[in-house]
């Protein structure tokens, strides 16, 4: 096997590395070009291009809308010129060929857009497609009219495609620095509101005024300076991160623990201190992220650990919110109605948030058992559909006229007081305090889920996720074990609901739509199912950056297209990184079995261990082990 590998690499090395400019995979480039064109047309027709054109990124040359449109040929050109080099192969030398490949893709894309422009000019389909407008035509022709515009589109496509392809020609290091610089400039431009808020918090409002134009948008010269600084810093500290990592990996286990602990302490201190300097916008954002982290951690127990695909999870969030509102609001409908509730419980005073919390949690647990008991006897798709049903049932109950005297129907429950600490009250007007409250509960949730994961119950959940019938045959009572997961999930969601009610001050049935369940699910999947840091990262990226179902994120401009981006991101993740941003070890292995097998094989093949096995009682294990590891062993059965 080694010999063949050597031969192959020899052959590769002797092949001419520099290729002529016409040695292009024309069909592939043209295909990519077609995709580019369609993407550009799609972005135009969903209204993203025109909608985001109002937002200036770099004053006065680049708007967010144009960034989206122009990035398409750039990225397309880059993809068209990309070649996959496998390990052991010599990388082909990049040159004119790659620029041509990119240019072709860009040109074809431009042609598709040009055809679209002709149609856009000739017909009026606005009744069918609301964004079929003159504004779009104006934008895509760069305001030059159709005739000149079409030529411009072709030229821009060609040039940007070529530039995208040319990126491969730049040597690795400058390319990296350039990419970092561009990323930083774009981040500064896109995150203008937040950076403005941050600088204001640290008393540096003057800096913000210098960087940004009055009507929004990064100014050109400060933009260039930011890019230069980013590139310089990247150059100065190149490889330092990897170096630190190896240093850390080489530490003794004890010392490693110590360092991790110190890291944790630093992060906790930062978590406490930083919000003091942050403005309202960022703190509001952080508290929303925290609420979703709570929900995602809860769902992670249910779906990531026990493998119960619950798509009605919002039900428990709703129960938590409503129960808190029910108990703490002086204007709760049931107090004013003359039904049985007010007759029996009329004496019950309006409760303090902390007094109500145990009751809320208990209710959520009971609802968890009630919903869970029928649901968890089902498996797979059936279970998902039934949970979906229950999620909707809970929302509809809160919405119903039947329960309106208790829960207020569509009017919901209003004037929910904040969390009364005695000396102060935490409510939505002070996002910083809400953030601290949320952070405490997130810490509790992290502790609970990590403790349970490694316990007897956590192992049983994992076994059920792997193979339910075998788990049962191995003595695990699958019904109660799964019910535990359901209830733990319900309780964590009710924490989130309880804080949500106090933060917002009023609850309505339409805050608990199916969409919320789906978004929590997407957070868990994108972040990394079954892994606590992953799930938290998912919440930060999706809720923090894009925004929650009704909460704005960092990129407020995108709120209209949030779901589109969610969908695109989910598809992208499923294709490219199905294990999530920060994957769970077991899930990662599951999705990359071949690599895991290779690693295990290499490890098992260490001289020391092989010797152990040979010494042991006879059979020559290494040959059999290797066969088995490569999946050939199964053939003998």
């Amino acid at each position: 096997m080694t010999a063949t590998a050597a031969n192959t690499s020899d052959a590769m090395a002797s092949a001419p590395g520099v290729r002529s400019a016409t040695d292009v995979d024309w069909r592939r480039s043209a295909n990519i070009g077609g995709i580019l064109g369609i993407t550009a047309v799609f972005i135009g027709l969903v209204g993203m291009a025109v909608g985001l054109d109002k937002r200036m990124l770099i004053d006065p040359v680049l708007s967010l809308g144009y960034l989206f449109v122009l990035a398409i040929p750039l990225i397309g050109g880059w993809i068209a010129a990309r070649e996959i080099t496998l390990e052991g192969m010599t990388a082909p030398i990049k040159g004119a060929r790659d620029i041509v490949a990119g240019a072709v893709a860009g040109l074809v894309g431009g042609a598709v857009v040009a055809m679209f422009l002709v149609m856009l000019n000739a017909w009026d389909l606005q009744e069918l497609l609301p964004n079929w407008s003159d504004a779009l035509l104006d934008m895509y022709t760069f305001g030059q009219g159709v005739g000149v515009g079409i030529v411009l589109v072709l030229v821009v496509g060609l040039v940007l495609g070529a530039i995208g392809g040319a990126v491969h020609v730049i040597p690795a290091k400058p390319r990296r620095l350039l990419s970092i610089a561009v990323q930083w400039v774009i981040s500064f431009a896109v995150l203008e509101a937040v950076i403005d808020d941050l600088l204001g918090g640290f008393g540096l409002q003057a800096v913000a005024d210098v960087i940004y134009a009055r009507r929004g948008g990064l100014l050109i010269i400060p933009g260039l300076i930011i890019g230069a600084i980013a590139a310089f810093v990247a150059h100065r500290f190149e490889g330092k991160g990897a170096e630190l990592k190896t240093q850390y990996m080489e530490l003794e286990p004890e010392r490693k623990n110590q360092v991790s602990k110190q890291g944790l302490i630093i992060m906790v201190v930062l978590g406490i201190v930083l919000p003091i300097f942050l403005g309202k916008i960022v703190n509001e954002l952080l508290s929303n992220v925290g609420l979703f982290i709570l929900l995602a951690l809860g769902l992670n127990v249910v779906i990531g650990r026990a493998g119960i695909l619950d798509i009605g999870y919002v039900a428990f969030f709703a129960v938590g919110s409503y129960m808190m509102a029910f108990l703490t609001s002086p204007l709760a409908p049931w107090r004013e109605s003359d039904g049985i509730l007010s007759a029996v419980f009329g004496w019950l005073p309006v409760l303090n948030w902390f007094v109500a919390l145990p009751i809320v949690v208990l209710t959520a647990a009971i609802v968890g058992v009630l919903i869970g008991t029928p649901v968890i006897r089902m498996r797979g798709d059936y279970l998902a559909i039934v949970t979906l049903g229950f999620g909707e049932i809970i929302r509809l109950l809160f919405l119903s006229d039947w329960l309106a005297p208790t829960f207020g129907g569509a009017q919901g429950i209003r004037s929910i007081p904040g969390v009364n600490l005695g000396f102060a009250e935490i409510n939505g007007t002070d996002p910083r305090a809400v953030f601290y409250l949320v952070a405490i509960f997130v810490a509790i949730a992290i502790y609970v889920s990590s403790q349970l994961e490694t316990s007897r119950l956590g192992r049983a959940w994992m076994a059920i996720r792997e193979d339910e019938s075998v788990a049962e045959a191995m003595g695990i009572n699958t019904v109660t074990t799964k019910l535990f997961a359901f209830v733990v999930g319900a309780i964590l969601a009710s924490f989130s609901g309880a804080i949500f009610a106090a933060k917002v001050g009023s609850v309505f049935p339409n805050s608990f739509e199916l969409l919320v369940s789906i978004i929590i699910l997407v957070v868990v999947i994108v972040g990394g199912m079954g892994n606590i840091p992953g799930v938290m990262m998912g919440a930060v990226v999706l809720i923090g950056v894009l925004g929650g179902p009704s909460q704005p994120g960092l990129l407020q401009e995108f709120s209209e297209f949030k779901l589109l981006i969610y969908g695109a991101l989910l598809v992208f993740m499923m294709l490219k990184k199905p294990e999530g941003l920060i994957p769970n070890a077991a899930r990662n292995r599951e999705l990359h079995q071949e690599e895991a097998l290779q690693d295990a094989w290499l490890k098992g093949d260490k001289p020391g261990t092989t010797k152990d096995e040979v010494d042991d009682a006879g059979p020559a294990p290494s040959a059999a082990d290797i066969d088995g590891s490569l999946g050939l062993g199964g053939a003998t059965s």
């Binding site: 316990s455 119950l457 019938s469 295990a600």
Partner: protein, 278 residues
């Protein structure tokens, strides 16, 4: 010797097919019983019936004098029966250690409170689970311990998966161990070693064992008693020597003509030809 498992007049029908037909069977404490029979004889259904995966329409199954009918598989495991599967069914993504730890579920009882408040009882139980897991794995020599503990089960070779499955069954602390073709897919040397281990499972761990096996060498070496099934019916029972020369048994394996021509030939050759057929 006391009766451990007693099966009385059990019948199982799948649609029109009688998988098990009026079967009577027993295992005494400390016994190793092998169940053999041609393919499709109902051996695995027999195991599934005992472990509660299939409920018999007629008859009773008693374990230590108490009926198992109507119990869930996990309750049966808790009573002290554990099994392995013909087509090895581990928890492939869990580590080897976890596979064995999770099998002690029905012998332990810490749930939410213990781990959350790190109670002394929980710590003690976790330590015991871990210790017992390592002890069980240690039974198979170096193969499943050391660096292996933290590896996922799917990286194991076929033979090691079979070993791990036995270890997992052992970890449930059973009285009766049901092994479904424990040496299938192993090379002769490995089967010989496992045969030896099966003997030790009784002598050192005190398990009674029922084993389904096609390898007649293994059957001969370890069984106190051999039961032959064909078409869901017991056609012969007794020591290996008695069964292997029984004309009905040879007929079941090789057909009537062969049984007559060989004039009561040996089962060893019969079983081997039977093996060749699938």
């Amino acid at each position: 010797m006391t009766r451990l498992l007693e099966i009385e007049n059990v019948s199982i029908t799948f649609g029109g097919l009688k998988a098990i037909d009026d079967l009577n069977f027993h295992v005494d404490e400390g016994e190793i019983v092998s169940v053999i029979g041609p393919n499709g004889a109902g051996k695995t259904t027999f195991f599934n019936t005992i472990t509660g995966l299939v409920t018999p329409q007629i008859g009773d199954i008693k374990f230590e004098g108490q009926s198992l009918i109507g119990l869930d598989p996990n309750e049966i495991t808790a009573r002290g029966l554990a099994r392995t599967f013909q087509n090895v069914r581990l928890f492939p993504q869990m580590t080897i250690l976890e596979n064995v730890m999770v099998a002690q579920h029905c012998r332990t009882n810490q749930r939410v409170i213990g781990p959350l408040f790190r109670t002394a009882a929980w710590k003690k139980e976790e330590a015991e689970i871990r210790e017992r897991a390592e002890k069980v794995l240690g039974f198979f020599g170096h193969r499943l311990v050391g660096y292996r503990l933290e590896q996922p089960a799917f990286v194991l070779s076929y033979a090691n998966r079979r070993r791990l499955e036995i270890a997992r069954a052992m970890a449930t602390q059973p009285k009766l161990l049901l092994l479904d073709e424990p040496v299938a897919g192993m090379n002769p040397k490995e089967s010989e070693e496992l045969t030896h281990l099966i003997g030790r499972l009784r002598s050192e761990w005190g398990f009674s064992i029922v084993m389904i096996e096609h390898d007649m060498g293994v059957v001969r070496d370890v069984s106190d008693r051999v039961v032959v099934l064909d078409h869901g019916v017991t056609i012969a029972q007794g020591s290996y020597e008695e069964v292997s020369t029984n004309p009905t048994v040879i007929e079941a394996y090789l057909g009537k003509a062969a049984a007559e021509s060989e004039g009561g030939g040996s089962l060893d050759s019969a079983a081997h030809s039977g093996e060749g057929a699938h």
